[in-house]
Amino acid sequence: MKTCFEKIWDDHTVLVREDGQTLLYIATHLAHDGSSHAFNFLANKNLPVRRPDLTFATPDHGVSTLSHKLEDIPDLEQRQVVQTLTRNTGKFGITHFGLDDDRQGIAHVVGPEQGITLPGTTLVCGDSHTSTHGALGCIAFGVGASDIYHVLATQTTWQRKPKQMRVTVNGTIGKGVTAKDIILAIIGKVGTNGATGHVIEYAGPAIRALSIEERATVCNMSIEAGARAGMVAPDETTFAYVKGKPFAPTGANWDKAIAYWKTLPSDPGAKFDLEVTLDASELVPMLTWGTSPEDVAPITGRVPDPAKESDPKRRQAIQDQLDYMGLQPGQLLTDVKVDRVFIGSCTNSRIEDLRAAAAIARKGKVKIPSMISPGSTLVKKQAEKEGLDKIFKDAGFEWRESGCSMCVGMNGDLVGPKERCASTSNRNFRGRQGKEARTHLVSPAMAVAAALTGHFADVRDFL
């Protein structure tokens, strides 16, 4: 009896050393403009890329969202790493979706969109949110520069088999509650450390009911629960999504692939090291109030009051966070004023996210600076085809090009000091979106509700 994870892991095991370390074959590697260090290590040792056909690349972290012209990247170092990616992929014959290619975008949006991410595979990328791809039913995890170099040179990586955790979400989510709220609730429940050393399999009816894009949002933030990766076993929803994608299998190979993918779900009775259960019907729209993703609260709630904490360490920790975030103890969350809104990042920038955002955006006008950066250039084009860009622009949103943008601020899209941002991204760490920036993580619909009112608001009031 095996879990979905074990089936895929075993299928990619080249060898296991006596000390338990596994040499794992990597079916797909995604590179981006941050991969330049790894390519440099390779060049220093004068080694070739073992399987250039298994690496796919696109610039995302440092690209300008005002324009996709290379010369419009203001920071010189940033421009150079984008150029370096073009040079390295050209040198080794790696498929590259450059700035002038419609298929460019955030690597974690592009992989599934192109059918590069496939069920039953192993996938790595030099970015922790590689866990996103697990939505397709694969083992996908982020690695650092030395490991990328290792993958480029050997198409393998040394890994210790992680433990396994199953998060079962029962019931159905109510109106206005989204995949983002599910994952925020899970992180709030298990904590940022709750899944450390584990891979999470998301299961249960509420997960099965999600689209692939929604599952991507859930798997994306597995890392914020401390997990190495997150995944959802493939099902008919998965197959329907993959079918017809540019790099997906076709013809007889498609039939063979499907037959195999159907064997992947965890066997009944397969053992997990940790089990967590959640009831989706109890969830309401959520947001974070602090500087760790585990600091979540329902929109109907209040800012926590440190005085009510009995543990002095915890009391001090909450007070520190409130000071940083500029919040008052016990304040109603719907009374918290917001300075700016960011909709984008690999967590929430796919077409379904933009549709959900547009559904609220059509009901008003923004009161604060608000921007949208689609997850890929193809997502942007699709949104424009559907007229979503017009809805956003009419409501006063800035409609930008695709990239990581304000999720990490490396391209100059920054939240100012002490500015409060309602953001659809995944990290509310201190300084993540800019020095002294105050980040609150929310769903796209909740972000729009904040944009239209200038404070946090319950999106269900707009439905």
Partner: protein, 210 residues
Amino acid sequence: MDKFTVFTAVAAPYEKPNVDTDQLLPARFLRRPRSEGYQTFLFRDLRYNDDNSEKPDFVLNQAPYRNAGIMVADRAFGGGSSREQAVWALTDSGIRSVIASSFGDIFYNNAFKNGFLPVRLDQAVVEDLRAQLLKNPGARITIDLEKQTVLAPDGKTHGFDIGGFHKQSMLLGLDEVGVTLLNDPEISTFETAYKSRRPWMSAPPRPERG
């Protein structure tokens, strides 16, 4: 990679939990060439003011800890992004080990590739070590990787766990890619079998180049 065998150094106590990689190394410095060194970026925004002057209350700016080679932190050290630069910022600053009760998984893995030893000890022990360091600023800790022990300032020894693979490569200062390339025949055998078992993974429209 530098070997790690027995390491004795001044240890700096840092009591904050959840030291994520954005704190260790803000994203705006990620692009610096490796050869230029990352020491000036470690804890950049916690350690320095906007005008680059030091914040006197930050532990590494205080006289006894300026040359610290070890940090004793809290729980969940190195969570967050996969940036290996966070490890480089530590090693380039002369810090070769952090003792904490838990680590971010990717940080933990990245550490070993750079001769940096993350040591996991129980939360109570970690807190006790920090208390000793606070009482005796500038006190030293000795980490013996072979024996898998931490020698505290009070003379007590604490054992820690580490995987055999990581221990080996740290003790010998092995280049991982070099080791793996010795397994090239096994990788090739795997690839051939994988290709026939999962033909869609290499067939068109996926580009195949050999």
